[in-house]
């Protein structure tokens, strides 16, 4: 067996107490497309950052073409022929295509003569090679997302990258563009490069990948050869590629069997849904929130139809970019809906701003708690009354006694560990900050509570406390809409689970459904 282009052995990486990679081994061969899949937070992006030198692994070794590499930096990775194309192209929007390509490829010397004709000719040549009809003098800002991605690929090509990493390259492409991208990827593979291909779309993996590695909770749970069950052979491939590929397949087939879609999903979900979630005690009451074909062009939410009843917790599952947070922001008026109807307690309402949403009794605990959920430099008490001044101080005069009392009540009811209501929120732990954010919205006495990632970055103990609080709120008749990437949490806490994909709800499942079912729907597979 030939030496691998890239070989990672037992790589670990932790951020503080969070262990993102727990001894992952991974290899990439020449003339291969190796897919990397896993749930949100499985460690894919950390692994990529280790390969591109953005993160240093804590332990483990990296070998590139058989040579061990220590202290990999982005610049060193670039020199070794590693290129990465991110989901969002990282180009300079105000420069031209040729300038962007030159910035990546020309030596980074500040004082030297720029040879413009050469620059343009090289850009034109690279773009031609990937079959892109983009003018080298076009300004990047004016290009569409797929065109920008093509420019990124041209850069990688120009750097004669031997290891090309593509992080969800098709998320913004149409089907036709996707086919062209695949053709380019196959060409690259034929020229001897190795491609690491990350995608949330299983059909793509079966269309393009030779092997697939599944990551789960920072561990590699298996590498399998991808079976060609989806008729990929029908797509034109040069015979010599097939030859070299089949060599690899043969060498690999000895160690692993081919995989089916169902098997892949099973590998990704793997774990048992935890039974630690408190049982639901409430019987759903009247419909509080009713959405009819709600959409917002600006944020990509479309055709969402959903009911949430009093006392009910509806979970919204889906992959990153499926539109969960976007839906929450539409409901809260951050990016107001432009189509469809929102009914609150049977009344048709328009929510054009968060201020209006608060007035209507909608509460939203946002995703990025440290930045948006609380104001770190303010004391707990001020944070808790921030959204409900009108209700608590009807005469527009802040009574600090009343405020303290309210804060003390919530500190006690939500069991927040603090030095009292005057403590600055910045001095609290993540879980306690989240409880303060929650208290702020409970103080508004809402009808509908939208929780976006309520337990992200919260330790296990605080997590289960927050779950208990959510349960009790539902029991008291609040309608709860909970967005979460944490699949066990969604399944454990929700009466019903709506699965989102591409900005809309594609499946409505019962709360105690199977994790596989949810993942299958989220990955766009027919149930």
């Amino acid at each position: 067996m030939t030496t691998a282009l890239l070989q990672l052995t037992h790589v670990t990486k932790s951020f503080g107490a969070v262990c993102a990679l727990k001894g992952v081994s991974f290899d990439l061969q020449a003339v291969e497309v190796h897919a990397l899949v896993g749930e949100n937070g499985a460690g894919k992006s950390t692994l990529i950052k280790v390969i591109t030198g953005a993160h240093q692994p804590d332990t483990g070794t990296i070998e590139i073409a058989g040579q061990p590499v220590c202290h990999l930096t982005p610049a060193a990775a670039h020199k070794l022929g590693i290129a990465c194309i991110y989901q969002q192209p990282a180009l300079f929007p105000d420069l031209t295509v040729a300038e962007n390509i030159a910035l990546r490829l020309e030596p980074a010397t500040a004082v030297r003569r720029v040879q413009w004709p050469h620059r343009r000719a090289r850009a034109a040549q690279l773009l031609r090679r990937i079959g892109a009809s983009i003018a080298p003098d076009a300004v990047v800002r004016g290009l569409s997302m797929p065109e920008q991605q093509l420019v990124e690929i041209a850069c990688a090509l120009g750097a004669s990258a031997r290891i090309l990493i593509m992080d969800e390259p098709t998320s913004s492409l149409t089907e036709q563009e996707q086919h062209r991208l695949f053709a380019i990827v196959r060409d690259l593979r034929a020229s001897g490069a190795g491609v690491i291909y990350i995608s949330h779309r299983l059909e793509e993996i079966f269309a393009i990948a030779d092997r697939v590695t599944v990551l789960r909770d920072g561990e590699s749970v298996g590498t399998r050869v991808v079976g060609r069950s989806r008729g990929d052979e029908a797509l034109t491939e040069k015979s010599e590629i097939r030859n070299s590929k089949s060599q690899i397949e043969q060498s690999l087939l000895t160690s692993a069997a081919t995989i089916s879609e169902a098997e892949l999903i099973k590998l990704m979900v793997g774990r048992e849904v935890s039974h630690l979630y408190p049982p639901a005690e409430s019987a759903p009451g009247d419909v509080v929130l009713s959405l009819k074909n709600v959409g917002c062009a600006a944020s990509g939410v479309k055709n969402v139809t959903l009911d949430v009843r009093a006392g009910e917790t509806v979970g919204i599952a889906g992959l990153v970019g499926a539109g969960r947070t976007e839906l929450a922001r539409v409901l809260f008026g951050v990016t107001p809906a432009d189509t469809g109807e929102i009914l609150l307690n049977g009344q048709r309402v328009t929510v054009r701003s968060p201020a209006e949403a608060v007035g209507l009794g909608i509460a939203y605990v946002p995703e990025d708690r440290r930045r948006h959920g609380v104001i770190l430099e303010m004391p707990i008490a001020a944070n808790m009354t921030m959204a409900s001044h009108r209700r608590i101080f009807p005469r527009n005069w802040l009574r600090f006694g009343a405020e303290r009392q309210l804060a003390l009540d919530y500190l006690r009811a939500l069991d927040v560990e603090s030095n009292g209501p005057d403590t600055l929120v910045v001095h609290l732990s993540g879980g306690n900050q989240q409880k303060v954010a929650l208290a702020r919205w409970l103080a508004t006495n809402p009808k509908l509570l939208i929780l976006d990632e309520p337990t992200q970055g919260v330790d296990v103990g605080a997590k289960s406390e927050i779950h208990k609080i959510i349960r009790r709120l539902a029991k008291d008749g609040l309608a709860v809409l909970m967005m979460s990437s944490d699949l066990p949490e969604v399944l454990g806490m929700s009466d019903r689970v709506a699965v989102m994909r591409g900005g809309t709800i594609i499946a409505m499942l019962a709360g105690k459904s199977d994790a596989h079912e949810v993942m299958a729907a989220a990955f766009g597979q027919a149930c």
Partner: protein, 344 residues
């Protein structure tokens, strides 16, 4: 009003209280006097610096404490205090306004012309305030409405008002009729009135910033406009209001300046923006918004105002005055930067 400060939904449940929601001991003693000193340490350190300076003057230059020069000093600073109050609001809200000097000149000339036309002072004052407020509203609309950076917007309006005024008046002074200076009162009474007006405004604004929801919204918007918006506050409205308020204060300050002399200089207010911003920054307001108080601003202004007479009394050459003021500002900013870094 019914006392509806508690959310009935969250009263601890009798059954749950014992197990899951038991009271955890909280350490209340930290919120006593120590907490006060800790929270206001910025203001207190500036106040300590002022105290030291005053003490030093008492020993080295007792002449500083003669009543009449002291009264004159405070009277000169009264308009600046009014402007600094407004400026503190704008800076706490994470914006800045460098056009206040030009606004001040425009309001002064306008007030001067109106009094020269024999308008009663009771009408000239609202007119000046209204002119200032509308100039502030223009700044506010451009900053909050179009979301332009405030430094650029107010740089443009600063030049526009100043040059417009120069073109309009050709540098001519406005002669005021008799009975306008010191509101027709004796000089001492007039001076005292101005100082009292400035102090009353300071106290009103400082209390309002603490006790009115709108004041707290300014801090919230200054800390993080997006976080404030997600709490149901309308940040654009808050920003706009702070600019309008600052403009109105500038109008009032201009009026307080006009009555101090028999003529109105069309170049008055030159450097006022620097003075106001310096007072705010020295007084412990974070230039990045969200922190600080009006009390600190007042102390900062007094500290800067005392530097000049201190140097005069110590027979230091006048050239050093600006250099000393600059050093005080630099010192304040550096101290704040070091502190913020330590807190992180």
């Amino acid at each position: 009003m019914p006392k509806e400060t508690r959310n009935p939904k969250l009263e601890p449940q009798p059954d749950a209280a014992a197990s899951d929601f038991g009271v955890r001991p909280s350490f209340g003693f930290r919120n006593s006097t120590f907490g006060f000193f800790h929270r206001h340490s910025r203001e207190l350190s500036v106040a300590a610096a002022l105290g030291l300076l005053l003490l030093f003057l008492a020993v080295a230059a007792p002449a500083f404490y003669q009543p009449q020069p002291l009264l004159s000093l405070l009277t000169r600073e009264a308009p600046a205090l009014v402007v600094a109050c407004g400026m503190a609001l704008v800076i706490i809200g994470r914006q800045i306004d460098i056009s206040v000097g030009s606004q001040f000149a425009a309001c002064s000339v306008c007030a001067g012309l109106l009094t020269a036309m024999n308008w009663p002072l009771a009408l000239v004052l609202p007119a000046s305030v209204a002119l200032g407020a509308s100039m502030g509203a223009l700044n506010g609309a451009l900053v909050a409405g179009l979301r332009l950076p405030s430094i650029v917007v107010t740089l443009a309006t600063m030049v526009a008002w100043r040059e417009g005024l120069r073109w309009l008046r050709q540098g001519q002074f406005v002669n005021l009729p008799d009975g306008v200076q010191w509101f027709g009162l004796s000089q001492t009474t007039g001076q005292q009135t101005l100082i009292i007006v400035a102090l009353v405004l300071l106290v009103l604004m400082a209390v309002a910033m603490q006790h009115i929801a709108a004041g707290r919204f300014v801090y919230a918007v200054g800390s993080d406009a997006e976080a404030a918006r997600l709490a149901g506050i309308r940040p654009q409205r808050v920003t706009f209001s702070t600019f309008v308020l600052l403009g109105a204060f500038v109008g009032l300050a201009a009026m307080m300046n006009v009555v101090q002399s028999p003529q109105v200089d069309p170049n008055s207010g030159a450097g006022l923006e620097l003075k106001a911003i310096a007072a705010v920054v020295v007084g412990g307001v974070a230039i990045s918004g969200g922190r600080g108080s009006l009390w600190g601003t007042c102390v900062g202004l007094l500290l800067l105002a005392c530097v000049n007479p201190a140097l005069t009394h110590l027979h230091v050459e006048a050239y050093w005055e600006k250099a000393m003021q600059g050093s005080v500002i630099l010192l304040a900013v550096v101290a704040d930067g070091l502190r913020t870094r330590k807190e992180r």
